[in-house]
Amino acid sequence: MAIATEPRAEAPARKETIEKVSIIISQGSLLGAYPGLIMANGARAEGIEANLFFTFFGLDVVTKKRYEHLKVATVGNPSLHLPTMVGGLPGISAALTRYMTHKMGQIDVPTIPDFLELISDTGCGLYACKMSVDMFGLTMEDFIPQVQEIITVGEFYEKAAGGQIIFT
């Protein structure tokens, strides 16, 4: 098939690009974790330097004991179209977590552990927030091996310097 519009003879002017992103994950629910992970993985796919910073309940996403068991939050989420009191019943969160995990598996979204390994292998840095680590009484031992360092907010800004910051 032919080319629809006549190609120009010369190369275009360079478009603006993003060189670096630092993404903060502050939530520990399944659907609180995924967006930041997808953004980080997508950044690396584009050749953009990326860092992930886990803070507050977002630490669950990289905590050995928790990261395989993240759950869909079923209370206080109007988009689920589920009455809040139903969302609070025993087993509802577990059932919806199974359902969402299945749906995401169908479109080839990796599980949280697989995704973290993939993202780390792409060269994205993973960091835990010092204040949250102190507050929850955690140490490096509690985190998956992909976490490189526990850093302060100041150190986060140093790492983020010159790039874009995304809070999720």
């Binding site: 080319i3 120009r8 690396r44 990796p110």
Partner: protein
Amino acid sequence: MSIAVGGYQKTVAGVTVDVNDEGFFLAPEQWTEAMVPELARDEGIAELTDRHWQVIRFMRKEFFEKGTGPTVRVLGVASGVPVKELYQLFPKGPAKVAARIAGIPKPRGCI
């Protein structure tokens, strides 16, 4: 087959080809293996190894089988080259850079 919007023409290995503004081939059938060294050099890859070739050939195979090139995740699972190595071979983004060198459109996929 290709449907092009815009783009420009450039000469690779003595042959004129149509590419879009991001440098992806508009017509994958215009590509030949002889163009690979020059396309790779344009991407900052001075020395092509067998592992580069393995990825480049896999990109084309997937594109012609599935209609879109593979994402990094698919490359890591199915190309035989693990993700860490993919980034050593193509530091600026394996799927994207290898697609440009392999003469196929940019792979579409969020994961």
